[in-house]
Symmetry: D3
Subunit: 197 residues, 6 copies
């Protein structure tokens, strides 16, 4: 079967990128062992690349608030609803690693209502999905439902902002036909020693 390219648009040579982009890409390669294609696809537009990852980091790497695994749940659930292949596969891998659970990502991507999550996490994903798919209807009753599960309003901002940012991210991935790296599919599924070389 045919293999599709990384992006519908030209993918720049890393060596020719502006220094800050190259540094970021090499750092992620150093850490992960490969360069996730989102860096290559968006590097076609350096200014947008910088803003995209600054936004991403502000939401996903921020200290405090909901856990890192919960943030990835939001990404995977909303990206599933938006049919974004790149985000489901790539963030599915991160969710498996952060939650130390090899099954959760596939469950959440298909139907979070049936996943092995707590009622609190279910409420969080209900809110995230409403922001992702029907933000125009978000109202006081939705914030109240979050508070009833113990979320502060600041945490609810985090949940809604992550759903909003990936509304952008999912669209850019679908616009560019962004292809997930092969490496993501297996990450977090098997104990490291058993992973194929």
């Amino acid at each position: 079967m045919p293999t599709k390219p990384i992006s519908r648009f030209p993918v720049p040579d890393i060596a020719e990128l502006p220094e800050d982009l190259r540094a970021r890409i090499l750092a992620v390669q150093e850490k992960s062992g490969f360069v996730p294609n989102v860096f290559l696809a968006l590097a076609h537009r350096p200014d947008e690349f910088r803003a995209f990852f600054a936004y991403h980091d502000a939401l996903m790497d921020k200290e405090g608030g909901i856990t890192k695994a919960e943030r990835e749940m939001i990404v995977v659930a909303t990206s599933g609803a938006n049919e974004c292949q790149y985000c489901v596969v790539a963030h599915g891998a991160i969710l498996r690693i952060r939650a130390k659970n090899p099954h959760l990502a596939d469950q959440v991507a298909v139907n979070y209502r049936k996943a092995d999550i707590t009622p609190r996490q279910k409420a969080m994903l209900d809110f995230a999905m409403k922001v992702s798919r029907q933000a125009e209807r978000v109202g006081d009753e939705d914030f109240a439902a979050m508070r009833a599960q113990g979320f502060t309003d600041e945490e609810t901002w985090d949940v809604g902002a992550i759903a909003s940012f990936f509304a952008l991210s999912n669209r850019m991935a679908n616009l560019t036909n962004m292809r997930p790296n092969d490496e993501f599919y297996l990450l977090g599924r098997v104990p490291k020693e058993a992973a194929p070389r």
Copy 2:
């Protein structure tokens, strides 16, 4: 995190099942190394169990026509659209094995339009998705589009019938909260020798 049960309904003891159900279940266990939960969940109703698997086998095990891997693509794509966790996870595993491709199932489950498939397979999944989601609109133009890709009308029946059968199957899985077995998640992802014990 909490682990959900196999089914919302009682799951019978294999030893107490009617002989034909027990024989079928033991045979699949012998072959697969485990009993897929769909057999246990549906065994709660032996008559429905028998009809369900007779229908399944008539469509999925039939000789000739579209390939076994293509049949699984139809299952995975339509089950993704119907948000059926059991079918995406279980048939995703079978698709990986039948297509000898560890990535295809995840791609097709999220967005078949972006998957590594041929234009002919894309047309097949367009047809299957129309039957699954808007069967009331299927018309001559859809059969013509299939013929333009070389499908016979009998093959188009197969495609539509598989989409129809899994419309039933997806609903039963969502009705019963059918839980995919842990074994499915990793099947077909790694060379057999590397799989964890």
Copy 3:
């Protein structure tokens, strides 16, 4: 105006069918006075025919549980939502007969919320419609709503399973352009002695 054929696919000669199909068809003809076209259209695929009617009988002819008229209400309501001409016309006739009510089927097919049914039947159809159209969202609260109306969980399985089976049936009818027999339109509308010969 043009009259459309029974099926988009070839319709076999009854004399040339496998013995078990022929026997079943002759039995229904004996009982009803005509052969409903679903038997002819599906006889094109004997294995699928056998599984289809085995499943149908397991759900629709089973003793106990919700009444036969209520089962037909589920068929008519969900088939109306799925725009399945064959099922609305054919099962509309059966509903009229089973409910001994010449008006109910037309009401339920168009909008069950406005039909002459009890609140309990309204709840039953709410559940059936959710399984038919949004099964991925069925949850504990829906089972609770059924229990509040006195349905056992086993009866709720029946309701959901009938909605699921006709999700399949409606799609096969729309796929094959299955045509309702002329006889169905008037059945159960007039006292037998007044029916035209």
Copy 4:
């Protein structure tokens, strides 16, 4: 089973209606043998009654243009999509009579794409349904499709205006829980001599 009232709102006594309403109602009773409930339900608001029937007559009784049977097809198809029980049952009866066809109304109400109609009538109903359900998307290409089937733009206005008027009518019927008269269900289904007294 319970029988629902004619309207959720008070139904006036014919004797106490303004003279013009009473005259119209008695005339229709004289002609039809019964008073269709839409007259009684809307008589609750005489000014709205007058405007409603003036609009109705301007579109449905107008000389020339598309046939009377075709106008009723538009009503039945769009009222089916809008789940308006009163309009499907009442205008279904009129369609049977005008088309001299006892089966057409049930076909068109459920899925006009599968009904025994000509390609020209199919195009007409495609247009009517677009006006009824997605008028915001009606554009030059839709008028071109009508012209390709031989409709003048004036006839296309008629088609669109009927779909528009019944968008109003369907909503009033659903708002008021307007109940179809029992008489409508059988009208046009049997030769007059065979109808029960």
Copy 5:
């Protein structure tokens, strides 16, 4: 940029219209300073014109019940949902004038849930939107919600009837490509002395 015509259909010369239409048009011109295009576009069909405006007046000019400004809110909110450019622009102007509020119409047209309205008005628009977009689901619980906000059932009829009438009106405007007059855009936005001549 190109300027589109008043209507996709011929617009009659006022001098050649039937006397009653001409009188009505001249009266509105006298009062408003211009002839709103809806009068010109619908004058193409005098009988429909008469019924349309009779219906309009019965609902919008009626004494008592909900305020004139509230009626315009219903028009603007539902016309926004139906993407009717003419009605949003023209009735937006009337709403600004009737509510003596230069901002309310733009808020309500885009998302009434976020507009500067009272909870009672929010409930009124929830009801109107349900009639406009999902009338088939309107039920006792919706009337109860209106009563809880102090609306009589007669007022609820008004709300629903206005939503229903503009379901017709929006479709006719989209069918005919009815163009809002330039005058409407600024009406009610600036103190009269500051308006450009």
Copy 6:
């Protein structure tokens, strides 16, 4: 009628903001005569503020490609579909100014298909709306339609990226109940000398 606050979340005092945010806000105030509320609402989260406006500027202030007015058309059309009050009102004002057209924004917000735009702009908005509402379906045929209207693929990225960024922006505005400044409503509608003080 009640006036709603700028944001559902706390709005910081400009004097207490980080220096770069304060500088940016004072610059926009200097230029526009007021501080658009989006700056105040997002200043609650300085890191997100920085990334948001960096992304905004990369897309909206970039030299070359589609015109500034066309970029605002994309914002207004997609924000209308997403029911984002802040973005329709604020960017509607900018569109009026950039297009030097007092009517275009209201037309595009309600239904761009009926607006006074060129066929090329219509195609651009068709593409933008598909990215905004159904990005998962964007494919080669959509890029081909853009090329047929003379857009380069780089310009098509711009169109899609703006639609994607405002998918984020619209959700943040709906999440925070962001309130448009009163000033926006009249901007670009009247010659400057006639605007009220």
